[in-house]
């Protein structure tokens, strides 16, 4: 029986992008279903993720998996014949899980949101926090090509989507990430050269336009 894989997603969602990359890495055919989160949530979304009512949701043969990092691990475990995202060594796996969890615990999305929604002291505080997070990640990357070593891994997949939002962060936050964290940008540029990544991520300019649109809707000058 052929696998039926559906991804409920919203194109600018960094969390959705993670799953897109994982599916692309594994060469999995799937149906992409766009949820327009600027309007009403679809009945399918509410049925498939009744607890959080959020995207992304991966649906495999009718069974939903919510929470992007959980879905990526699921994909890695089920389609384990190619492109492993998690290392095979248990200690390395624990470290990969730790740093992917760090990305979510530090709430890069929320911290960065303050960069393009707030002003003054609040914005400055967000900038400081954002740079601290990126610097810590740079430290963890060290001299490796990717967080996964020689190949794209779990942490790379968890983190690279946020790079598509950087134009918005930088313009509204009035700073340059490359100046503050050159190693991070070098890593990001390496990642987006990978086909599974580049074809899964939207254009930075498109995301920037989206940020502009949202700010307008929120009534921010």
């Amino acid at each position: 029986m052929a696998d039926e894989v559906i991804l409920l997603d919203f194109w600018p969602s960094p969390f959705g992008m993670r799953i897109r990359i994982a599916l692309a890495e594994k060469g999995i055919k799937y149906e992409y279903k766009e949820e327009d989160l600027l309007s009403n949530k679809s009945p399918l979304l509410l049925e498939m993720n009744p607890v959080h009512k959020k995207v992304p949701v991966l649906i495999h043969n009718g069974k939903p998996i919510a929470e992007s990092l959980i879905a990526v691990q699921y994909i890695d475990e089920v389609w384990n014949d190619k492109s492993p995202l998690l290392p095979s060594d248990p200690y390395q796996r624990s470290q990969a899980r730790f740093w992917a969890d760090f990305v979510d615990k530090k709430k890069i999305y929320e911290v960065a949101k303050n960069l393009w929604t707030k002003k003054g002291e609040e914005q400055e505080a967000a900038k400081k926090e954002f740079i601290e997070i990126i610097k810590l990640l740079e430290q963890e990357l060290g001299d490796k090509t990717y967080f996964g070593g020689d190949k794209l891994g779990f942490v790379d997949v968890a983190l690279i989507p946020f790079y598509t939002w950087f134009k918005g962060y930088e313009i509204f936050g009035n700073f340059n990430v490359e100046k503050e964290c050159p190693k991070f940008i070098a890593w990001a540029k390496r990642c987006i050269k990978i086909e599974s990544v580049s074809k899964s991520l939207p254009d930075q300019d498109k995301v920037y336009d989206f940020v502009v649109q949202i700010r307008k809707k929120m009534g921010i000058e």
Partner: protein, 233 residues
């Protein structure tokens, strides 16, 4: 010195440290339990978990692992031939277990904590309602996935049992502090039964904090948290 060279940095009151202890017990593993005072934090803790500086930390040989859920998965993977499996073998069931543990660590952890330090009735109620919602959802999950067996994991305690069970002592303490049932057999009968079975489980029972001691600790903690929140910055 433990033969597997395992050290656990813990505190007696931490539900997260308890998860690791239970997992180690399920696998029949000896370990050095190093009780941290947290004030000040030991050099070993600061070196082993420089990112969060929190317990629990499991140190296996010279390798530190932090974050309780991640530690439990590590233990299950390394000692996969010991005792009984903690994570389900089926990938989908694994995803479900991970989902619910993440849910609990977000919704239960925050609402149960905030409920204790809430400064007005409105906030207290909102947090209590969230706690109730968590319990009702877990009741559903238990009925759906246990297939009539004792635990979320079936016959044996698994990842989700450990994930929520580790909070039970604090739940009892909360009940004493507010003088009201939180886990209520009229609302979540299966969960009540499950809780009794969980705390009696051999891998769990010797490791639970004494409720009276935990109550004193909780009262002191709540006082400090409320005072800190009230202080002008």
């Amino acid at each position: 010195m433990a033969t597997n060279d395992l050290k656990l940095l813990s505190t007696p009151s931490s539900p997260f440290a308890l998860r690791v202890k239970i997992a180690l017990n399920i696998k029949g593993l000896d370990y050095d339990n190093i009780v941290e005072t947290m004030n000040p934090k030991s050099d070993l803790l600061l070196q082993s978990n420089p990112v969060y500086k929190k317990i629990p930390v499991l140190i296996h040989g010279d390798k530190p692992i932090s974050e309780s859920a991640i530690i439990v998965e590590y233990i299950d993977e390394v000692w996969n031939n010991n005792g009984t499996p903690i994570l389900p073998s089926n990938a989908y069931d694994c995803a479900i277990a991970r989902f619910w543990v993440a849910y609990i660590d977000d919704k239960w952890y925050n609402s149960s904590r905030n409920h204790l330090v809430a400064r007005n009735e409105e906030s207290k109620k909102a947090n209590f309602d969230q706690m109730e919602e968590v319990l009702l959802r877990l009741e559903d999950v238990l009925n759906k996935y246990s297939e009539g067996k004792e635990f979320f994991g079936g016959d044996k305690i698994g990842f989700l049992d450990i994930g929520f069970g580790s909070y039970l002592s604090w739940l009892r303490v909360t009940e004493k502090m507010i003088g009201k049932k939180v886990l209520d057999e009229t609302k979540t009968p299966a969960l009540v039964k499950w809780a009794e079975a969980f705390v009696a489980h051999p891998a769990v029972k010797g490791n639970l904090p004494e409720i009276d001691k935990l109550l004193e600790f909780a009262k002191g903690l709540v006082q400090r948290m409320v005072a800190a929140a009230a202080c002008p910055k």
